[in-house]
């Protein structure tokens, strides 16, 4: 069963927003994988921070890590 993502106010998000949210979560998760080369881990973490900002700006997600 597919889960319809929602924003911080509980409203359904559009296709672009859903993809951004998905990307953010996947990259953030990937950045925590063990045995990543420093060049991969650090750049993934940098990307996760930038994506977190975009997701926060759109009111899709709001968290600190």
């Amino acid at each position: 069963m597919s889960h319809q993502p929602t924003d911080l106010l509980g409203r359904p998000v559009d296709a672009n927003e859903a993809e951004l949210l998905e990307l953010y979560r996947r990259i953030k998760a990937l950045a925590t994988e063990e045995d990543l080369a420093p060049c991969v881990e650090k750049n993934l973490r940098f990307a996760a921070c930038a994506l977190a900002q975009a997701a926060t700006d759109l009111g899709l997600e709001f968290e600190h890590f």
Partner: protein, 444 residues
């Protein structure tokens, strides 16, 4: 396609009810984060007997105790260097900044993570984009890039926007002026005071600033950026539109910005901050249009939660529709109007340095000034404004000073304020925050 006038059209133009709902959700998550990770905040809220579950409406924010600079400093003193406000060990931080520590005070020390710096630059982007900075722009930073946080976030914001960024680091004023003209900078960032100094230096070198490529001047760091006379002077000397912004080291970034419509104040970035205005004596909220103290809650700085922080800044909040730009972000009319602790009581009359500056800046023949409070032998307090005339001013100096004194008196309930001439080049010049008030009343 989204409206390109706004950095974040979804929230800059959102209905107020949606903005308030977003703020409540972010507040709840921020308090939960702070309680879980920061011993300082956990103790603060435990002592007040309040927690996340008590935040059911936005008005419930008033159940949270204030956070003060004094408590923050005490925590730092008890557990150097950062106290117990941090939510993560210092190893997680990528940057360290501190306040200037003037007046013999210990500096406030702050750490930020990489994620925090994304947010810091983001808040600046609301302002820069809103004032018209675009990838085609060349942005010159007349800023020394030191431990003072100043324009650091603005620099990264411009890189994020994709503008060509020129840091001027340790360059001299003379070289900065030459380079910004030579490199055809379209946007210049400086404190208001330093922007004037740059303009005077350009005149000295015979450089035509109003005829240069500069069409936007973005100032920060002093209340003067929203003083109408100062803004007029800046716009005239630079031949550019001038926008005010305001931030603080405690936040790491700006919380308000002036948009391209220049409504005579600055929009609050309401999807990233809650800005309350309270009576500094009672702590109770004041309505739109009344002056009070800013209390800020920031959502973006993960390493240091700032929730209901007493800023001591004096502001007047007015509704968003004062401005025609379409944003639903409320406005601080006239920017930061002063400081709660800057007020001087002279022979029973309240005097704010910003109000004095607003009058003195009306006089183009005055280049620099200083406000000196002192006490006579008979214990009567006096206020003297020292003025330095622009080089080569051949007009009536005594007459000008008399007129300034009369203006100051008229605007201060008849209080006599002395005006004296200071020799050319004798008063201090400032690159960062100007400090023009000297209080000698308690000196021996």
């Amino acid at each position: 396609m989204s409206d390109r006038r706004y950095w974040n059209p979804k929230w800059e133009c959102a209905p107020k009810a949606d903005l308030r709902a977003l703020q409540l959700e972010k507040l709840r998550r921020s308090v939960a984060w702070a309680c879980a990770k920061s011993p300082f905040h956990r103790r603060l809220y435990e002592a007040a007997g309040v927690g996340v579950d008590d935040l059911k409406t936005l008005d419930d924010i008033r159940r949270l105790p204030f956070m003060t600079r004094e408590d923050w400093m005490a925590s730092q003193a008890e557990k150097p260097f950062f106290g117990e406000v941090l939510t993560a060990p210092r190893e997680r931080a990528i940057r360290y900044h501190l306040t200037s520590g003037t007046s013999g005070r210990q500096p406030l020390r702050v750490l930020d993570s990489g994620k925090d710096w994304q947010w810091i630059s983001e808040c600046w982007a609301y302002g820069f984009w809103g004032f018209g900075v675009r990838p085609e722009d060349t942005v010159f930073f007349a800023f020394s890039y030191g431990s003072f946080i100043g324009f650091w976030g603005a620099h990264y914001c411009c890189e994020k926007i994709g503008a060509l960024t020129i840091p001027s680091g340790n360059m001299t004023t003379e070289n900065r002026v030459r380079q910004l003209v030579e490199m055809e900078a379209t946007t210049v960032c400086a404190t208001p005071t330093y922007a004037i100094r740059l303009a005077l230096e350009a005149e000295r070198q015979g450089l035509d600033l109003p005829g240069s490529a500069v069409d936007k001047l973005i100032v920060s760091g002093e209340p003067a950026g929203s003083i109408p006379a100062m803004k007029r002077l800046l716009e005239e000397k630079w031949g550019a539109k001038c926008a005010d912004t305001a931030g603080m080291t405690e936040l790491g970034t700006i919380m308000m910005f002036e948009c391209a419509e220049q409504p005579g104040g600055a929009h609050i970035i309401e999807d990233h901050f809650i800005e309350e205005v309270i009576d500094p004596e009672t702590g109770e909220p004041v309505p739109y249009g009344e002056m009070g103290e800013r209390v800020v809650t920031s959502f973006g700085r993960g390493m240091i939660p700032v929730i209901r922080y007493r800023t001591k800044d004096l502001v007047v909040k007015v509704p968003h529709d004062r401005c025609a730009c379409g944003r639903t972000f409320d406005i601080y009319d006239g920017g930061i109007q002063g400081r709660v602790d800057d007020m001087l009581l002279i022979r029973g009359t309240n005097v704010y340095p910003r109000a004095v500056e607003a009058i003195v800046r009306e006089y183009k023949e005055v280049d620099e000034f200083q406000i000196v409070a002192w006490r006579r032998e008979d214990a009567i307090d006096e206020l003297t404004v020292k003025v330095e005339f622009v080089a080569g001013f051949g007009g009536d100096r005594a007459g000008t000073m008399e007129t300034i004194a009369a203006d100051l008196k008229r605007n201060h309930e008849g209080l006599r304020i002395n005006v004296e001439e200071a020799p050319e080049g004798s008063l201090p010049r400032f690159e960062l925050k100007a400090k023009r008030l000297v209080d000698r009343r308690n000196q021996g």
